[in-house]
């Protein structure tokens, strides 16, 4: 049986359909990807309900898939607990800035997952939270909002780094890759902005229910924002894969053969 080791040269130059299919199946099998795909179906059903198309089936599908998506919060919660536990273990060898960043990352997403888990308990009827739901939703949206504001700042810093790298690079292909990375980071910023907008609208409608009137608080705005977030999520994911593929090709041509000669 013929056998060849995988080297970057065997990777096709263009991002092919089969490569896309592979990346899609990897994404669908991952925890985050599965949650995103469920969100796509829920979002489509919400639009169908809103537009009055097959309202019953759309409503049933949305209300069945909602708790399933919220169920992922259990594993998310454990994941972030594990992340915090890891940070405690390496706190002696880690510099304080990196430690703070990681701890913040896991703590804030842990809080978000905890709030989502409480929503899951309430939705499934395992533990009915009556008055407390308002506080839980506030915590949930506040955590998401704060996290994405920090994400925006982090991405702005990343763009500065890429620009600094761009000034030093002379190879045209490498420059194109760095420019693509800058574009991707802008898209990620736009994605974070849509989430911050959703968090702001939700928080105002929860905390100041009486003041939540007018176009901004129309369900279509929220649906539109969540659809935009989802589209950007998939666009960013595959754009990132395409960039990684091009980067792989670049280094296959320029570095790998030299490494082989050495």
């Amino acid at each position: 049986m013929a056998a060849t080791t995988l080297n970057p040269k065997t990777v096709a130059n263009n991002y092919s359909v089969s490569q896309f299919a592979n990346d899609f199946s990897k994404m669908a099998s991952s925890r985050d990807g599965a949650k995103d795909l469920l969100e796509v179906v829920i979002n489509a059903c919400n639009w169908m309900s809103h537009l009055g198309m097959n309202k019953e089936i759309a409503g049933a599908t949305s209300s069945t898939l909602g708790p399933i998506k919220q169920g992922f919060s259990i594993t998310d919660l454990i994941h972030h607990f594990g992340g915090l536990y890891d940070q405690i273990r390496v706190s002696e060898v880690k510099d304080s800035d990196a430690l703070k960043r990681e701890v913040f990352h896991h703590a804030i997403l842990g809080v978000k997952s905890g709030a989502e888990f409480a929503m899951f308990l309430n939705t499934t009827g395992l533990y009915v939270i009556k008055e407390g739901m308002k506080s839980i939703k506030t915590i949930f949206w506040m955590a998401l909002g704060v996290f994405d504001v920090v994400n925006i700042y982090s991405n702005v810093g990343k763009i500065k780094d890429y620009r600094a790298q761009l000034d030093q690079v002379r190879i045209q292909n490498h420059r194109e890759i760095l420019e693509s990375k800058i574009n991707l980071t802008y898209l990620q910023i736009i994605q974070s902005v849509t989430l911050v907008a959703m968090a702001a609208i939700s928080l105002v409608s929860i905390v100041f229910a009486a003041a939540a009137q007018g176009f901004l608080f129309n369900p279509v705005v929220m649906l539109g924002l969540s659809s935009a977030w989802l589209v950007l999520q998939f666009v960013n994911h595959f754009y990132d894969k395409i960039i990684a593929h091009r980067e792989n090709n670049l280094f296959a041509v320029r570095i790998w053969p030299k490494a082989k000669e050495a």
């Binding site: 080791t5 592979n22 599965a34 089936i57 994941h79 390496v90 939700s202």
Partner: protein
């Protein structure tokens, strides 16, 4: 209200890592986050089915029923992704077999031309997600009458028996190859002994799956009535031994922690 919440931090550049030895907490976190669907199965089999079968929990326990329903739906919700994955793998394998081009599927590090037996095996892997998708739709959305997917369950039983039987043969073959008596180095003996123990745990789970497949096939096509206790015991065996195998393998490994 729609809640898109699957946000994550976008890291870039090279990262420093620190290696630490895995402990039971690490293994638990890894199991729940990497094998989240198996975790859901473990919850409803070990937390609801087994206590009910042993008479420790009433059949009317409402909380247990809700937990089982939600954990089952959670596990079944993976079926479209698994289906896509299985179809994609089968297409790639068939293409490799027909054209003679070497490919690497999943975690394989070496690209090989796939044989016909691999094509058949990958094609058989499509049956289970189809069955799971039909069950998911029956339970969750369209409420298809259970009778209409009865035959599909039988076909799934045959596919399960075939696939797990094949995997069991492979595991037995691995056991045959890994003989400790060939080695003289102490470290190599320990490593091989570990691999043998892991394979033995895997074989128990695989044989239980084969038994479940045979029972499902006989129940559908031969009308054989099976005591539900037997199926619960077999399901519990698959869950327990899969967890044991995962824990055994991962407790001995080191993990990398990002140092920022």
């Amino acid at each position: 209200m729609s809640t898109v919440s699957n946000t994550r931090f976008h890291e870039c550049g090279p990262q420093n890592k620190s290696e630490v030895k895995n402990n039971p907490i690490d293994v638990f976190v890894k199991y729940t986050t990497e094998k989240h669907y198996s975790f859901a199965k473990a919850i409803y089999v070990l937390g609801v089915d087994v206590p009910r079968a042993l008479g420790l929990m009433s059949e009317n326990n409402q909380t247990a029923t809700i937990i089982k329903e939600n954990a089952t739906l959670f596990k079944l919700s993976r079926s479209p992704a698994v289906f896509f994955n299985a179809v994609n793998t089968t297409i790639r394998t068939s293409w490799s077999y027909l054209t003679g081009n070497p490919i690497a599927n999943g975690n394989e590090k070496v690209a090989k031309v796939k044989p016909l037996s691999q094509v058949v095996r990958d094609a058989a892997g499509i049956v289970n997600p189809v069955n799971e998708m039909a069950t998911f739709l029956t339970k969750a959305i369209l409420f298809i009458p259970k009778a209409s997917i009865h035959t599909l369950k039988g076909v799934n039983g045959i596919a399960l028996t075939f696939l797990m039987g094949w995997k069991t043969c492979e595991s037995v073959h691995t056991l045959g190859k890994n003989r400790v008596c060939d080695l003289t180095n102490d470290e190599a003996i320990v490593a091989r002994q570990t691999e043998i123990n892991g394979t033995l745990l895997k074989i128990v789970a695989e044989v239980s799956y084969v038994a479940i497949g045979v029972i499902m096939t006989l129940a559908v096509f031969a009308g054989v009535a099976v005591n539900p206790l037997v199926l619960t015991a077999l399901s519990a065996t698959t869950v327990v031994f899969s967890i044991l195998e995962f824990s055994y393998k991962n407790l001995l490994e080191e993990k990398q922690i990002n140092l920022g």
